[in-house]
Symmetry: C2
Subunit: 164 residues, 2 copies
């Protein structure tokens, strides 16, 4: 038997334990460039372990997933935060877990809109990049450089994620 | 009399003196996530002066400009690099200058596509964010925090930028 998980809308309040939601809505902002540009300021900050590492800017081109999906694995990056922002116009899925002494527990599934990015705090367990419907590109800000920055955890019993 | 500048397509080769072009085309990449995602890796790196500063992720919502436009001013950020990636589907304009003992000279105008971002090296003179046609949102990765990170330069004689 697998456990069912249902997706709920991504909100800043609910995502706070895991990281930041990168979106204009509800953000601190101010005008720059003689009034021609509104800066939605410091929606997230990179947090990396610098020994041999830098903050890199990357593009991830992800294949789409379909719901329901089997969640068998999550991963985390002990050496740095990781931000994702969608470059297309489709919804995507964000899956995160709490950590219990090195083990991911209590998976949470959020449905993110095309105008919502996230920044995962350093070391937060999460599912792999999950575009829905169609292949999608994402701008990704994370640590690049030497060091082992990947831990994977395979669940003994997989979860089934549904749209709710 | 003002001097005319014409825009030319943004390419990695021509942009090298000023920073990096953030685009999938021609990049180093490899598959991750069990083959479901292609990582176009370290297309740019943030370079910031850390005293009181962090790498921030922001959204700039810019008003559109029309060509021909008058270029009267450029600016630079002595404490950090600054990356822009368009979130819409329109072209945008990138203007950069060489530095000659603290003075911006020899403005260059690049027409960037909707799948092209840039990362300006720390201290590179540049024009303000310039969406074309319609208002546009951009994901911006730059230094946030204390310190004076803005220098502006007003040209004695403005330039007129045309589409070429």
């Amino acid at each position: 038997m697998s456990t069912n998980l249902t997706a709920r809308p991504l909100t800043k309040a609910e995502f706070t334990p895991y990281g930041q939601v990168i979106e204009k809505s509800g953000s601190e902002s101010f005008l720059i460039n003689n009034g021609n540009c509104r800066r939605h300021h410091a929606l997230a900050e990179a947090d990396i372990v610098e020994e041999g590492g830098k903050v890199g800017i990357n593009i991830f081109a992800g294949q789409p997933y379909e719901l329901p999906l089997d969640l068998g694995m999550v991963e985390r990056h002990p050496l740095g935060s990781q931000a994702f922002y969608p470059l297309g116009d489709k919804n995507w899925l964000v899956i995160v877990c709490r950590d219990d002494n090195g083990t991911p527990v209590d998976p949470q599934v959020f449905l993110a809109g095309p105008d919502q990015g996230i920044n995962l705090n350093r070391g937060v367990w999460h599912g792999v990049l999950t575009p829905l419907e169609v292949a999608g590109d994402f701008l990704v800000v994370d640590r690049v450089g030497e060091g082992n920055n990947l831990e994977e955890h395979y669940f003994a019993k997989s979860f089934v994620v549904t749209s709710g």
